[in-house]
């Protein structure tokens, strides 16, 4: 029997894709039900990790950079950052392995030329905010999108990343700061003197501010499907001078995905599922990125019947979910509920997934991001489908 919850995987369990090659972010969240009024983040992160992310990298290195020739600029930057509320991590000097190179962003980097020494830059790429021109190989990249952070490290551009937002705690070597991707502070970002900024959504006029300050900015929101993810890999590859790394990562993911979605049992086709974002029964329809992943297995989303108003992240009525009686239940708010909680819900005892104990836990980060770790999510879904088929 498919023990509920046993399918949950830690990132370390993920097949393939070696250490640096894992990433993602939160498709579901940037557009969830409440998104219209608040900086939505629903299940953006699991709390334990949040705490860790916040504590990491809060060393004060401001003093270390005083000796550089641009100390005036840096002091001003620190001051600005302090005003922006991120004084403890305002660290324009970057990490130990990225010594203070403030004002050096114009310098070409090794990544700025191809194998034959032909300069690759300037380049233009197409992102959600249109065509973006990157004048020189970026060496001071800031990512305020956890998915983009994972992608950047997966394609080999990790060394060029100097700061990431407070939810970008994967991979572990990502230089977490307390910069926010949901309420980004222009001054705090500029204090790092970035030469490329990657974000998931522009919460207002951030892109305009950054362009005004001469910082190339790439906006990459949740894609519609796997092809959209691959396109984001390739875009970031070109933009960072790591096109070859991006191509390799995409090829590897494609191979993994093909393997995971092949040889499904006949009994798996047409199984229905409910993707529970939180115990208030917010869900994602198959119009969403995560919904497109379930569709790879031929699974049918019970929420599709309820998305007449086109909201891809509706909150379903409990009695509707129970009456629909999904064969599989996947839940990602592991902070609030466990599989046991769901199995014991009053009135749910006749739901197909409860009768067969087909309730599966998803990693809240992996299931809400798009990036290399989507392979782990697909693995969980495949195991759920196989377990259900075996029990049937």
């Amino acid at each position: 029997m498919a023990g509920a919850g046993t399918v949950a995987r830690s990132p370390a369990d993920l097949p393939g894709i070696t250490s640096a090659a894992k990433s993602g972010e939160i498709p579901a969240l940037s557009r969830n039900g409440g998104a219209a009024l608040l900086p939505s983040a629903g299940d953006a992160a699991e709390p334990g990790r949040l705490a860790r992310g916040r504590d990491v990298k809060s060393s004060r290195k401001g003093l270390l950079v005083r000796h550089t020739s641009v100390s005036l600029v840096l002091s001003a930057s620190i001051l600005l950052a302090a005003c922006g509320g991120s004084a403890t991590t305002a660290d324009p000097g970057g990490d130990a392995d990225t010594p203070a190179v403030a004002a050096a962003s114009e310098q070409p980097d090794a990544a700025g030329a191809d194998a034959a020494g032909v300069p690759l830059f300037p380049v233009s790429v197409t992102a959600d905010n249109g065509e973006v021109t990157i004048p020189a190989a970026p060496v001071r990249i800031i990512s305020l999108s956890p998915s983009a952070t994972e992608i950047l490290f997966a394609i080999g551009a990790g060394e060029q990343v100097i700061a990431v937002d407070d939810y970008s705690y994967y991979p572990p070597e990502a230089p977490v700061t307390d910069l926010s991707g949901y309420t980004p502070n222009t001054e705090a970002i500029l204090a790092y003197q970035p030469d490329l900024l990657v974000i998931a959504t522009d919460p207002g006029d951030l892109v305009a501010s950054m362009e005004g300050a001469g910082v190339a900015t790439i906006v990459q929101d949740a894609p519609a499907d796997l092809d959209g993810v691959y396109a984001q890999f390739e875009t970031l590859g070109v933009a960072t001078g790591q096109a070859a790394g991006a191509a390799m990562a995409v090829a590897q993911i494609r191979t993994e995905v093909d393997g995971l979605t092949a040889d499904l049992p006949d009994a798996a086709v047409g199984l229905t599922y409910f993707h529970e974002l939180d115990p208030a029964l917010y869900t994602a329809t198959s119009q969403t990125f995560v919904g497109s992943l379930y569709a790879l297995f031929g699974l049918v989303n019970i929420a599709d019947a309820g998305s007449a108003d086109g909201n891809p992240y509706p909150q379903l009525s409990e009695e509707f979910v129970v009456e629909a009686s999904p064969d599989l239940v996947f839940f990602s708010d592991t902070y609030a509920v466990s599989a046991q909680d769901i199995l014991a819900r009053p009135g749910w005892q006749d739901v197909a997934a409860v009768r067969t104990a087909s309730v599966f836990e998803l990693d809240p980060d992996i299931s809400s991001r798009w990036g290399p770790r989507l392979v782990g999510l697909l693995t969980t879904i495949r195991e759920a489908v196989m377990a259900h088929a075996a029990a049937a």
Partner: protein, 366 residues
């Protein structure tokens, strides 16, 4: 302020005197019986509609079967019966209780402070409850399970009590005994507490949806757990409020006059406010912030029957129960199978309705 005339104009007090007579008592009893029938009717209708397709006859048979000494054949299957009894009916029951608690508390605050604008939202109770809930949702990982249930209701309760105590203390410290000062203090406290809960939410975006759904109000149930959780608080609180109806009527002529009649206004006010806060906190703890009921329903009832608390208080509780139950039918069915936050429904229908009530009452007074 126009709203002031609705509750406490001298002209309507005179009408109250007539109701207090024997004939008035009879018609008052009829009104209350009518309101009970209204609540039952709304409950039965709302049991028949919802996102799950339960046929009307099956629901009626299931309900009738539960009456004493009546047995009828059931047409719902086991799954449908569990939807009815473990999902739909607990939610309806919760709507009845929360509706009665919030509207009854509103009427009690208005009577105790002789201020038509007093309601759970203006005294800091709701804002305090929201802060308590937000803090536990955001930071209380270890607190989430207390005695088998989530700690959110208890934190909301503590927050509501804290909010009202802050308002009370602040109001007394700056302005003595004026009811207007108290309301202003409540506005300040509510703004302050709301800023804190908004900050907590901003710092913890991963729980923002949970907090957000709390703030918009929700009648989420886990079987009959919530009903059982709040009944022991709401019922005694509302009984205490009802028992003070006559004293509130005496106090409506003013503290000095009430004192000369042997009533101790400060003490009555304290007891009524404490009971109303307890009812509010219990309701907010399980259902989040459902706005407007505490102000619309009492005003509507006063418009219909005059200001006597012996009628206004019970009719408000029954009317609030019917109103929230009906609003939840809209929340459950309008976008079915998606939900609409209940607070959105009550405000959407409540706010324009409130304006209509105000306009009507101004016309009748002028």
């Amino acid at each position: 302020m126009a709203a002031g005339h609705v509750a406490a104009s001298p002209g309507t007090v005179a009408r109250d005197g007539a109701v207090a007579g024997a004939a008035g008592r009879t018609s008052g009893g009829l009104l209350i019986a009518g309101a009970v029938v209204l609540v039952l009717g709304v409950v039965v209708v709302s049991a028949m509609v919802g996102p799950a397709h339960l046929d009307v006859q099956g629901v009626v048979r299931a309900l009738v079967d539960r009456l004493p000494l009546v047995r009828v054949d059931q047409t719902l299957d086991a799954g449908q019966a569990s939807i009815l009894w473990q999902i739909r009916l607990p939610r309806i029951a919760l709507a009845v209780i929360v509706g009665a608690a919030l509207s009854g508390a509103g009427a009690a605050y208005q009577g105790a402070f002789r201020n038509p604008l007093a309601d759970p939202y203006l005294l800091g109770a709701a804002a305090g409850a929201a802060l308590g809930a937000a803090v536990v949702i955001a930071y209380g990982a270890g607190l989430r399970d207390v005695a088998g249930t989530t700690a959110v209701p208890f934190a909301a309760f503590a927050g509501a009590m804290g909010g009202v105590v802050m308002t009370w203390t602040l109001g007394r410290s700056v302005g003595g005994r004026s009811a207007g000062t108290l309301i202003l203090a409540g506005v300040a406290v509510a703004s302050f507490l709301t800023s804190l809960s908004t900050y907590v939410m901003q710092r913890n975006v991963e729980t923002i949806r949970e907090v957000y759904s709390f703030i918009l109000g929700r009648l989420a149930t886990h079987g009959w757990d919530e009903v059982q959780l709040i009944l022991p608080y709401v019922v005694p609180s509302l009984v205490v409020v009802l028992l003070h109806a006559r004293l509130l009527d005496v106090m409506s002529v003013g503290d000095a006059e009430a004192s000369s009649l042997g009533v101790r206004p400060g003490r009555v006010r304290g007891v009524v406010v404490a009971a109303a806060t307890l009812a509010t906190a219990a309701a907010v703890a399980v259902s989040g912030l459902i706005g407007f009921i505490g102000i619309i329903v009492p005003h509507l009832v006063r418009l219909l029957v005059g200001p006597s608390h012996r009628l206004v208080l019970p009719l408000t509780m029954l009317g609030g129960a019917a109103f929230l139950t009906a609003a939840d039918v809209v929340a459950r069915t309008l976008d079915s199978p998606a939900e609409i936050p209940i607070g959105v429904v009550t405000a959407f229908f409540g706010a324009p309705f409130f304006v209509m009530v105000l306009r009507a009452s101004r016309r009748s007074l002028s």
